[in-house]
């Protein structure tokens, strides 16, 4: 029990430090950004036609003159009190904006995460089991091709094929344009999510499949698989009983580590599909100098990624008999 508490405390401390570091780094990047918030958000012409006081008011609103240290510490103090501030662009509390965006993104992310995990595991296991033969070469070729393809390019390609040429799926957004919010059906939402989710899944598969393949190939060359074969177990039984069992542990870690890749990928993919999710909000906030929103998004997504890794650690303990037995004996 004491061990568990120590483990949890250590993890929480690490998470706090990580979030602090991430928020600070994003803040520095934002400060270093050459974009002038007034020119970007108000426009040169509008600025020119404004009076001195109006411009000063705007400068105060966007925090142009405040010293950086003061701005960051001010933000940090508020966050520690549970207040993430108000988005400068949306004029809504940051948490509210993130909540809405996340609700849009979550199904997309979840679908991509599950599909890439399951498909990646299956393809990787198959490639490892057939190492050197044609299924392996085919799968590996696909993975290498996809790994070297930028996600946004793939997104544009899919958009071109399925939306523009074939016309099967909508070009963008998460709901049909010009339709009353109440009239939007679940089918509409699904149709709009298919392409972004597909893009994210396709790119996510490669990494997981290649790692799983490596592990599976190791397992298939191990002494215990040789012994199983010597004892007359069929190849099928070896693959299912020994192969998958020994690939499962690294697969769990990989699956949870890939959360960060899915979230990272969604930033660009949502942009391409004009999908009003968290990723797109991050881009808008970054380009529009919306400091509270950007920091809020980075902190929340980092926390999600960290939570994923933590879940992997905990699951590992539950799956690995060595750790499990040791915990039981304590």
């Amino acid at each position: 029990m004491k061990h568990r508490l120590q483990f949890t405390a250590k993890k929480l401390l690490r998470m706090a430090l990580l979030l602090l570091g991430v928020s600070f780094a994003s803040f520095l990047l934002m400060c270093a950004s050459p974009l002038d918030p007034l020119q970007t958000n108000v426009g040169q012409t509008a600025l020119g036609s404004m009076s001195r006081e109006q411009v000063e008011k705007l400068e105060e609103y966007w925090g142009v003159d405040a010293p950086p240290a003061e701005r960051y510490l001010g933000w940090l103090k508020d966050v520690l009190h549970g207040d993430f501030g108000v988005s400068l662009l949306y004029r809504q509390p940051v948490l509210e904006v993130i909540g809405q965006r996340l609700a849009n993104s979550v199904w997309l992310l979840l679908a991509a995460w599950i599909i890439s995990g399951v498909l990646g595991l299956a393809l990787g296991a198959a490639a490892g089991a057939f190492r050197g033969r044609w299924p392996d070469r085919l799968i590996r070729g696909y993975c290498l091709l996809i790994s070297s393809t930028p996600a946004f390019w793939l997104a544009i390609l899919l958009l071109l094929v399925f939306s523009v040429w074939l016309g099967w799926l909508p070009v963008g957004l998460s709901v049909p344009a010009g339709v009353d919010a109440a009239a939007v059906t679940l089918a509409d939402r699904l149709r709009h999510a298919v392409l972004p989710a597909l893009t994210l899944s396709i790119t996510g598969v490669a990494n997981i499949a290649l790692h799983t393949r490596e592990k599976m190939a190791d397992v298939m060359e191990s002494d215990y698989v040789l012994f199983a074969r010597a004892r007359g177990e069929s190849e099928r039984s070896i693959l299912l009983r020994h192969g998958l069992r020994n690939v499962a542990l690294p697969a769990v870690t990989l699956q949870f580590a890939s959360i960060s890749e899915v979230i990272g990928g969604s930033v660009l993919v949502e942009q391409v599909f004009s999908y009003p999710g968290l990723g797109q909000a991050a881009v808008t906030a970054g380009l529009g100098s919306d400091l509270p929103l950007l920091l809020g998004i980075t902190v929340i997504t980092s926390a999600i990624v960290f939570g994923g890794n933590l879940a992997a650690d905990l699951l590992y303990g539950a799956v690995d008999p060595k750790i499990r037995r040791r915990a039981a004996g304590r």
């Binding site: 002494d223 199983a228 010597a230 004892r231 007359g232 020994n246 542990l249 008999p321």
Partner: protein, 286 residues
């Protein structure tokens, strides 16, 4: 690569194959079982029960009539309980009972079935591996270095189990690098050098260097601590690197010109054993 290997294993007997590490002993075991890696190639014949042992037939027989006893605990799936591994995925009561009996025979209780390999002690792991062979009724047992890291007493106990299995009628192929250990239990001994069998003899012949036929075997005998601990100068060539002549030529004190040039030196009967040498040593009184 192994070449020119010939070996007879008789039921009820323990035949030891003695050779240095890297001389291809494990490949021998794997080729009998038909589990060589995909990048290897095998020529020649293996007869089992008087009939050719084809890969198909080996696949049918392994795990049933032909059993492997491997070197150590890494040959067990680290994430699977011992019981489940012995049962090979079959869940019927008969299989369970057979596995329980096999473990019991080697003093392992039913609780062993619930253990993972990492929870086994060295000696227990060894007994589990032997038990894995006798869940069926094997007629040929191949033990590949089954006693590394065990002290003399523990090793003797393990070898005693092999003797028992041989007495029940199984043929036992005992692969080891340790000549002394092999002699404590074997009926016949085949000596392996650079992937070839160079001498096959009754274990008794090893009681005295004067009864051995091949210069290497004699040198090996002399290298045993009890017989003077005289090392053999030079190193054994890696299997497959010698293309012509006697592979021992480089280390042999009695090497002649023909030995280096001979295309093939056959394994021939000589004074009651088999030897692969153009000028085998005659028996000397001693």
């Amino acid at each position: 690569m192994i070449r020119d290997l010939s070996l007879k294993i008789r039921p009820g007997q323990i035949t030891a194959v003695v050779g240095a590490s890297g001389s291809g002993k494990s490949l021998l075991a794997h080729s009998i079982l038909g589990i060589l890696p995909y990048n290897s190639r095998m020529e020649g014949k293996i007869l089992y029960d008087g009939e050719l042992l084809t890969p198909k037939r080996a696949e049918r027989l392994r795990g049933k009539e032909i059993a492997l006893i491997p070197q150590g605990v890494t040959w067990l799936d680290p994430l699977m309980k011992v019981g489940a591994q012995l049962e090979k995925g079959r869940k019927d009561a008969g299989t369970k009972e057979k596995c329980r009996q096999a473990l019991e025979r080697y003093g392992l209780g039913a609780d062993t079935e619930e253990l993972y390999p990492f929870e086994l002690s060295g000696g227990m792991a060894r007994r589990v591996l032997i038990a894995s062979a006798v869940t069926e009724k094997p007629r040929l047992i191949i033990a590949d270095e089954p006693t590394p890291g065990l002290d003399a007493r523990a090793a003797a106990r393990i070898l005693g189990h092999f003797r028992e299995l041989a007495e029940e009628g199984a043929g036992v192929l005992f692969i080891t690098h340790d000549l002394e250990l092999a002699l404590t239990v074997a009926d016949r001994v085949a000596v392996f050098y650079a992937g070839e069998t160079i001498e096959e003899a009754d274990a008794e012949d090893f009681s005295d260097a004067g009864r051995l036929r091949h210069p290497f075997t004699r040198a090996l005998w002399n290298a045993v601590p009890a017989h003077g601990f005289r090392p053999i100068p030079g190193a054994q060539p890696y299997p497959g690197t010698v293309s012509e002549g006697c592979p021992f030529a480089g280390q042999c004190g009695k090497c002649r010109e023909e030995c280096r040039r001979a295309e093939e030196i056959p394994l021939e009967p000589f004074e009651g054993g088999m030897v692969r040498c153009l000028y085998p040593e005659r028996r000397t009184a001693g």
